[in-house]
């Protein structure tokens, strides 16, 4: 298989952990809350899902448990950031550290074990196309993630819920004045974001690379946070950002098969280097951020 078609075939699956976590964080940030704990929440989701699959519980149950665990941990963040109005940066870091600690404690006796991933579904006809055919052979979670992307895009674009979320993020005082329960809505957004991060972790540990290793999330939660900024808080752009990172994270595999003489450590750092560069390019355009940014992001709200 050539490098190009290899990347096309693997890109969507590699992008899925980024995509799920970033979509969840998009909803959280649109509501005006910054949850920096994604990395730890993903790690917790990853370990609980792995354990469920390892003990024969099956993937659907594993994903459900991961979503619940992510939800629960993100509500600890919610309590700090919304309940007692702690600094959101510190609260996110605290929950992230807690999540990573918990994942490593829970996964202690599962280190380096493996499970079986999910079968892939091919789109009849399209899957046989040359070069791009691999793009249409994906597991069900990838297909569902594409649906979720469309659903969240539609929610922000057309639904009243999307409007309410944005109002709460743009101007919480005004949203409250017209009768919306700002804190309750923000709690809901945080819980949703946590569940999505849990699912992202579950995909990483039970489908994409079906094994458990401490620290296996390897910065993907942080890259998902950066993706929300890259996408300037717009669903479509976040989707393409996730695809880009999916492709970048496959580069090291391609380099191995093509026999490039590049240190593997450089290829492993590639996603981080690309994150720094793209972040600089996007954020230096202040107009872009001003138009699409969330006005009250990270600000505590209360009387």
């Amino acid at each position: 298989m050539s490098g190009m078609s290899f990347i096309l075939a693997g890109m969507l699956a590699a992008a899925t952990p980024f995509l799920l976590a970033a979509l969840g964080e998009l909803v959280v940030e649109r509501a005006g809350v910054l949850n920096l704990g994604l990395e730890g929440i993903m790690a917790l989701g990853a370990v609980v899902a792995f354990i469920v699959v390892y003990h024969g519980g099956g993937h659907p149950a594993a994903f459900a448990v991961a979503a619940l665990a992510g939800c629960a941990l993100s509500l600890v963040f919610g309590f700090l950031a919304l309940g007692v109005r702690a600094n959101q940066v510190a609260a996110g870091l605290a929950v992230g550290i807690l999540g990573q600690g918990l994942s490593s404690l829970i996964g202690n006796s599962y280190e380096s074990l493996t499970v079986t991933g999910l079968a892939k579904w091919a789109v009849p006809g399209l899957a046989d196309l040359p070069v791009v055919g691999g793009l249409f052979v994906q597991d069900i979670v990838v297909w569902l993630s594409l649906l979720a992307t469309a659903a969240i895009w539609g929610m922000f674009r057309f639904s009243k819920l999307g409007l309410i979320l944005r109002a709460v993020g743009e101007n919480p005082q005004a949203a409250r004045a017209i009768g919306y329960r700002v804190i309750a809505i923000r709690y809901g957004a945080v819980a949703f974001g946590g569940a999505m991060a849990g699912l992202a972790g579950a995909y990483a540990s039970t489908v994409y690379t079906p094994l458990w290793a401490d620290g296996m999330i390897a910065g993907r939660g942080w890259i998902a946070l950066a993706l929300v900024v890259f996408g300037t808080w717009l669903t479509g752009r976040i989707f393409f950002g996730a695809l880009l990172f999916g492709a970048v994270s496959l580069a090291s595999l391609v380099a191995q098969t093509e026999g490039w003489a590049v240190p593997s450590q450089l290829l492993s750092s590639l996603p981080y280097i690309v994150t720094i560069i793209v972040l600089g390019i996007i954020t230096s355009n202040k107009r872009l951020l001003k138009v699409n940014g969330v006005a009250s992001l990270g600000e505590p709200f209360g009387p």
Partner: protein, 359 residues
């Protein structure tokens, strides 16, 4: 009955002192439940974790050894945190400090002289500061969030370390282990307390606390930092430069973390290896917050956190507790502290009140 938070007219000093203690109590209760769930005897675990580090001189000297890097890094970070510059990449700056310092013994393994270890410390501090230049430039000139950039720089630092240890800096006589040569005698920081591993770098760390105190509490420059963090607009109108605060915060944080990294390889470890940092850079974030971002508070919290590290090692041996339990305890502690510290500025109000309303 409804519970609500009401802003105090004046921040409570009593609560500011009580908050870390309350947080410790709450974290102990939560972890007690966790230990029970894991089938461990909580009494044995807490004894190993919290008392044993202080019960013998040998144990306590190890606590002092761990305290040095935590204290140094946290003092550097706290200056930035107070100015609302969130450098969370101390881990990477620590690693770069260790790498820069190691360059001398790796390239000049035969060199002798009393200048070597001081030169390593200086080089390490510069390396840490250099690693912080990217996030500072990105934030000031490109408007990019320093939280994400510092974190990414840490992940890259680990890869740089791996590259050196698996490639050019690998000890040719090291049985293919990913580690550098053992450093020569003159590349090691002199021991401070005979019979222990505590070296002169502890004095440097304590001196940094004094410097931080003088700078933050007693100088105009430190005052500008505080105002910049609390009221950025007012600070700008008064002519304080935000860019300067960002550059200084990140460079000081990187410098301190780099110094700590250098002191670690030139101290207890004595060579460059993969496990030079056991999460000091992240633990120091907790140390900085637990100490109330205050130079004096951080001395206390770094001592406590160092004891927790040693206690965790004890509990691993005597109570068969996985080492990750310490990370969980640290995380719980920070969560509880952030909840407790709210009551410095707010008080709980039961029932109806004239001011404020239901959210």
């Amino acid at each position: 009955m409804t519970l609500r938070l009401v802003r105090r007219e004046k921040a409570s000093t009593r609560m500011a002192v009580l908050a870390p203690l309350l947080a410790l109590l709450a974290a102990m209760v939560l972890n007690l439940l966790l230990f029970l769930a894991m089938g461990k005897d909580p009494a044995a675990v807490f004894h190993a974790m919290l008392l044993e580090p202080f019960s013998s001189w040998a144990g306590f000297s190890e606590v002092l050894l761990k305290m040095g890097p935590l204290l140094l890094i946290a003092q550097g970070l706290a200056i930035g945190f107070r100015a609302k510059v969130f450098n969370i990449g101390a881990e990477g700056q620590f690693i770069l400090g260790a790498i820069f310092a190691s360059a001398i013994p790796v390239y000049f393994p035969q060199a002798t002289g009393a200048w070597i270890w001081p030169a390593m410390l200086v080089l390490g501090a510069l390396g840490g500061a250099l690693w912080a230049v990217v996030p500072a430039f990105w934030r000031v000139r490109l408007n990019a969030n320093e939280i994400l950039v510092t974190l990414m720089m840490s992940l890259i630092a680990i890869q740089v370390l791996n590259y050196l240890l698996l490639g050019p800096w690998k000890d040719p006589m090291g049985f293919n282990f990913p580690q550098s040569v053992m450093f020569q005698y003159d590349a090691m920081i002199p021991i401070l307390l005979p019979g222990t591993r505590v070296n002169v770098s502890l004095l440097i760390a304590l001196f940094s606390a004094l410097l931080a105190w003088a700078y933050m509490q007693r100088s105009f420059g430190g005052y500008q930092f505080l105002v910049g963090g609390l009221a950025p607009k007012a600070a700008t109108y008064a002519g304080f430069s935000e860019a300067r605060a960002i550059w200084l915060s990140l460079l000081i944080g990187g410098f301190a973390a780099g110094l700590a990294g250098a002191a670690e390889v030139a101290g207890p470890i004595g060579q460059l290896q993969r496990s030079i940092s056991t999460g000091y850079g992240y633990a120091a974030i907790i140390v900085a917050y637990l100490g109330g971002l205050h130079p004096v508070g951080i001395v206390a919290s770094s001592l406590f956190m160092a004891a927790l590290y040693i206690g965790g090692d004890n509990a691993m041996v005597s109570a068969d507790l996985p080492v990750a339990a310490v990370r969980v305890f640290q995380g719980t502690l920070l969560v509880c502290y952030l909840a407790a510290v709210t009551f410095v500025r707010f008080r709980l109000d039961f029932g109806a009140s004239v001011e404020g309303g239901r959210v």
